[in-house]
Symmetry: none
Subunit: 237 residues, 2 copies
Amino acid sequence: MSFGPRVLIVDDEVHLMKIIKTCLTREGYRVLQATTGERGLRMALEEKPDLVVLDVMLPGLDGVAVCAELRRLHFPAPVLMLTSKAEVEHRIRGLNTGADDYLPKPFDHREFLARVKALLRRQQRDEKKSFLLRFGDAHVDLEKRSATRGANPLKLTKTEFALLDLLAKNGGKSVSREQILDSVWGYTYFPTTRTVDTHIYRLRKKLGDDGEQPKWIQKIQGEGYCLSESTVVQPPE
Amino acid sequence: MSFGPRVLIVDDEVHLMKIIKTCLTREGYRVLQATTGERGLRMALEEKPDLVVLDVMLPGLDGVAVCAELRRLHFPAPVLMLTSKAEVEHRIRGLNTGADDYLPKPFDHREFLARVKALLRRQQRDEKKSFLLRFGDAHVDLEKRSATRGANPLKLTKTEFALLDLLAKNGGKSVSREQILDSVWGYTYFPTTRTVDTHIYRLRKKLGDDGEQPKWIQKIQGEGYCLSESTVVQPPE
DNA sequence: AACAAGGTGTCACAATCCTGTCACATATCG
DNA sequence: CGATATGTGACAGGATTGTGACACCTTGTT
């Protein structure tokens, strides 16, 4: 659907790098590369990738040092550390300096992929604030992905949840159609603008917001849509 | 300042034991010891340590057996298994019997410490899960790993228990197929997503949730599955 | 006030994707 | 061996979704 997350690989073994890159690219990730600790560190800070894959053994600043520095600067993305068997000693420090996972070399590329995905998912989940929304007698829990209308369960599709997610994240601020398309459908897909309207229409209908004047999901003429603030029940904790 | 976590070591090599003990004590852990599988098992159940370190090679009950027994009783703390070099090939088996991590001997004491810490951290993160589930006339005890349907005992396979475990741990929240694969099948095995559906299908059938509308195990279209909240009877204590 | 021009709401429909179901081949266990 | 458990592919029925057509609304202009 969308461009995948961006992954920075810091490794000096060109061959391995190539393999990893192919592997990730094929799955739709965007790959950034660096071959020394220093460049990796700089690139991480500048490009803010969603995940960093760090080889422990690097010329100059080694992986552990890079990781420690990233953490010291409160770099938010997860770090996956690659260690070779001979580097046992480093592996230790790897876990202690804030790497979120590590993988001993040589590894199966599928396992590598599985861990990458898992780390990104976890990240995603942590970021996602669990919002509760209320539309009259309809309640929506964005975290559990469940909804009710009065006493009855209400079935929303994943696109509808994604839409609400986006609108809720922006509070009462209006969100343009373009933003919506980018966020829900991704940059690589180009549906008609009609598509957004249709989904808004369906949402409103399910939520009972189909009176004369939509109360909960409001349009900003020539601009986009926004959630009326009264719908946000609880940004938790 | 509180006492550190309690770690039970089960090993018959006195020398190694001594080293480990010093090592842990210096870091503020409280150390319990046992030199045979039987005593280790008993002590684990009685003292309920926060972590168990198990040598595979033990007189009498060996490490794998102890671990299996602990898991059968749904012992909650993580288990770190110590294996000698020759047993490396078996380490996968070790993991399959319920050990949370393993460490080949001889090991660097710093790596040992790192893994201990990592396990305890992970433990801390894991939320308390609910142990008793009810699906109409079917009851499932995740702790005892037993189930009944009406008056009859109901046999669930270990995969099915693992599935329920995961779903229950996530409360009413939806769990994606990928999460399910990672958690139940692990990073090193790669079944089709079809596999998940089939197991859900079998579970539903056994639990009697195969009416028109599945009531207990619900699908979130395009997303995954979740347990309806009414199935959770009571988190203990 | 009337009009033009583009933005929106509404909806039916076909294409596509997702899930339930099951038979069958393997794997595992005793 | 037999019995049970597990993974896979095929398939049908359902659910979801993008699209176009058309009516209606807004806005700004004569």
